[in-house]
Amino acid sequence: MMEELFIALWVIMSILAIAMAIHAVLSRDLIKATILMAGVSLIASFLFVLLRAPDVAMAEASIGSALTAIILVLAIRNTKRFEEGGGEK
């Protein structure tokens, strides 16, 4: 019973992470992409906890979803928010 729950949680989280990653790649709004990427990091750290690697999970949570996101946002603030090219927007 516990095993199935574990696997179901695992699969749901993985699908969520993949969906967020695809959205981040496709999105034109770079701030949105950054936030989605931070979310992917958060899910990844959760999966690391499930895999019993708490050390890696702590590093992933703080680096992936705090530091990297802020560095990217600072970089975007100094450049442009929307990707160029294409017709619309």
Partner: protein, 240 residues
Amino acid sequence: MMERYDIHRSIPAILLALLVAATIFYAFVEVGFGEAKVDEEGSVSNRFISNSTQETGSSNFVTAVVVNYRGFDTLGEVTVLFLASAGMGAIVSALPAGDKRKRPIPPSLILTAGTRLVLPLIILFGSYVFVHGHLSPGGGFQGGVIIASGLLLYLVIFPEWKAPHKALALSESLAGLSFAGIGIIGLAVGGIFLDNVISGLGEAGMLVSAGLIPLIYIAIGIKVGAEMTGLVARMKGGDA
């Protein structure tokens, strides 16, 4: 309402991602994550798991591997981090100052007071993580990054704050020096660089145990915290 995707432009990115995913899957399908492989006689991980507590005194054997068995690698990692931070500082400080057109809205009193109240707690948690590196999950890198994220919060809330770059550089250098110094003490006393010369001190599971490992992790924590803070402060610009 919905953002319209431009699929054609993203096809190379998607193909690349699929290729990488396929490669990773192909490479790791044999590994079998989550399976216990400790029953194999003579495997390296088996040896680490069964002997590391007696040999190093550290209850967390990830820490034993990172700081003791592979301590020299860790010195290399710290050096790489230092080089990355220094290189980025050099590039960013050579750039012209950004335009100040987009002035952010000043934070409200609730945010500033809350940050001032929460920041010491975050720094305390970071220090807890790196002081307890040999007992519980985490360690110098994680603790340092937690401290850096707390200071980052401060930097976001108080944009006019000038990061004390001199003090950061000083603490970073001192921490790096003490890491190398501990290594040299090991070389002088035990004949091996980073030899854990006082590993017998204290019993495993207590705070004072595992010899030099906590000291090394404290040094790494301070170093990583200072480096990351300096990196983000330079990235933000201002006095870079």
